[in-house]
């Protein structure tokens, strides 16, 4: 059994989000706590800006949840940069323990699942879990210099500039994490680093099917099956793959990357990055959960676990997907 059921149902008390100008022009604009007009956030480098965004999201989540930094037991976070510097440097400002996790773009679900596990087990009472990404720092690390005049292939996605976090505690909100499925690493042999959606879709499919099997639920039991950053192409593939296995989620599957940007044509397949699911879930979707427009959401954040070294050596892209079931109880 891959799925963990949380008997004490840890609650997502509040969230904190911040996003860049391009993201806020889209659907999440109304719901985020802070919109950046300038994506450097007043810092000298994009890495520092990413770190500051993450700090903001974590602090805002604690503040919105009515908690204080003194009472917080733990900070679980990760990001896309080498040695997860944004998360670690954010933790430098906090006076409580830090657990650094890396799951590429699946970090959000991984952090939530771990936080829920700690709280459910009674090892912690209040945990802040956050993650974020920045287009410009990710572009430098994984692709090319910003000013290089290259063309973007049509399969490529746009890394989201933004950060989001949640304040997770044992009580204090009707929104609970009821179960979590940690995913297996799945690799179907895609080597094209621009085609992340196709690489990650099998991982998403695997975790969703496992989750449904373990919980005995049908896709229709969820109001929404929310994948992280598969993009337009990846979403089609994941629907196809699950359909092939006899699971129909055509009607209630939504992808964060697909909906985050206003003009999908410009960003080709949509958004990606750790910040993608962090921003969309913690602002837009969380708001809908709070208003009870949605009551049961399966958050499946997907991540591509590659590095520039591995792709340079011709390795295929191993991918992972973690699922967290979030319900109004």
């Amino acid at each position: 059994m891959q799925t963990i059921f949380f008997k004490n149902q840890p609650r997502i008390v509040a969230t904190g989000t911040i996003a860049g100008p391009k993201e806020c022009a889209g659907i999440v604009g109304k719901y985020v706590d802070k919109t950046l007009d300038d994506d450097t956030f007043g810092e000298s480098t994009y890495e520092k800006a990413e770190c500051k965004m993450l700090t903001f999201a974590a602090r805002q989540a604690i503040k919105n949840g009515g908690g204080s930094e003194k009472e917080t037991d733990m900070f679980i976070s990760g990001d896309l940069l080498n040695q997860i510097i944004s998360a670690s440097f954010t933790a430098r400002d906090f006076d409580f323990p830090f657990i650094g996790v890396y799951g590429a773009c699946s970090t959000l679900a991984e952090a939530y699942a771990l936080a829920a596990t700690f709280i459910d087990g009674g090892y912690a009472k209040k945990i802040v879990a956050a993650t974020g990404s920045h287009f410009s720092s990710a572009e430098r690390q994984y692709r090319y210099p910003l000013e290089l005049g290259n063309t973007r292939p049509p399969q490529s996605q746009w890394t989201v500039t933004g950060a989001g976090g949640a304040f997770i505690a044992d009580t204090g909100s009707p929104i609970a994490i009821t179960s979590a499925t940690f995913g297996k690493v799945v690799d179907f042999g895609i080597t094209d680093v621009n085609n992340m959606g196709a690489a990650m879709a099998p991982a998403a499919c695997d975790t969703i099917l496992t989750h449904l099997r373990d919980t005995g639920r049908k896709p229709t039991d969820y109001d929404l099956i929310l994948t992280g950053d598969l993009g337009a192409l990846g979403s089609r593939i994941v629907k196809d793959l699950t359909w092939e296995k006899g699971v129909d989620m055509q009607s209630n599957h939504v992808d964060c990357g697909e909906i985050i940007y206003k003009v999908i044509e410009d960003e080709f397949q949509g958004g990606s990055g750790a910040g993608c699911s962090a921003v969309v879930f913690n602002s837009y979707i969380y708001d809908k959960l709070k208003n009870r427009e949605l009551n049961r959401v399966l958050l499946c954040a997907t991540g591509a676990l590659l590095s520039t070294v591995s792709s340079g050596q011709g390795e295929s892209i191993p991918c992972i997907c973690h699922a967290v079931s979030i319900e109004n109880v």
Binding site: L146, G149, F188
Partner: protein, 149 residues
């Protein structure tokens, strides 16, 4: 799915994914590349005329034209315009010498934050370095072949 018969599944899956490939707009891309590339070369030709009238000739003339175009490429990169041209023009802005300038200038700007020595200076040629490496290699091979002819 993750285990033994991975190889088998892969071939099917990759073929399946490739069937989704968005269509490439060959005609539009090629036309843009042609127009932008042609335009840059026309500027080069224009510079040649002016400098020829100013009394330059031979290697000095060709060299000066390149230097001016490289300057323009670097300036547009610095102003943040070249990447936008490049997104639409494709090869039209990559292949002319201004594209070479762009591929030297953009890493220099990008990695300045990591220091002037190991950042900017060391990484200045991460994109354009291969051109010089293979250029010198191939050029020297040609030279040595001609030596024995």
């Amino acid at each position: 799915m993750t285990g033994k018969n991975r190889e088998n599944y892969n071939a099917n899956y990759i073929a399946y994914v490739n069937s989704f490939d968005p269509p490439t707009h060959h005609l539009k891309n090629c036309l843009r590349a042609f127009l932008v590339g042609g335009f840059v070369c026309t500027i080069g030709q224009f510079l040649r005329y002016i400098l020829e009238a100013a009394g330059l000739y031979g290697d000095e003339l060709a060299g000066t034209v390149s230097v001016i175009l490289i300057f323009l490429g670097c300036l547009l990169t610095g102003l943040g315009v070249y990447d936008r041209i490049g997104r639409n023009a494709g090869a039209g802005s990559i292949v002319p010498i201004t594209g070479f300038a762009n591929s030297v200038c953009s890493p220099a700007m990008e990695f300045k934050t990591e220091g002037l020595v190991y950042g900017m200076a060391a990484k200045m040629f991460i994109v354009a370095g291969p051109i010089i490496v293979y250029g010198v290699l191939a050029g020297t091979i040609v030279g040595i072949i001609y030596l024995f002819l």
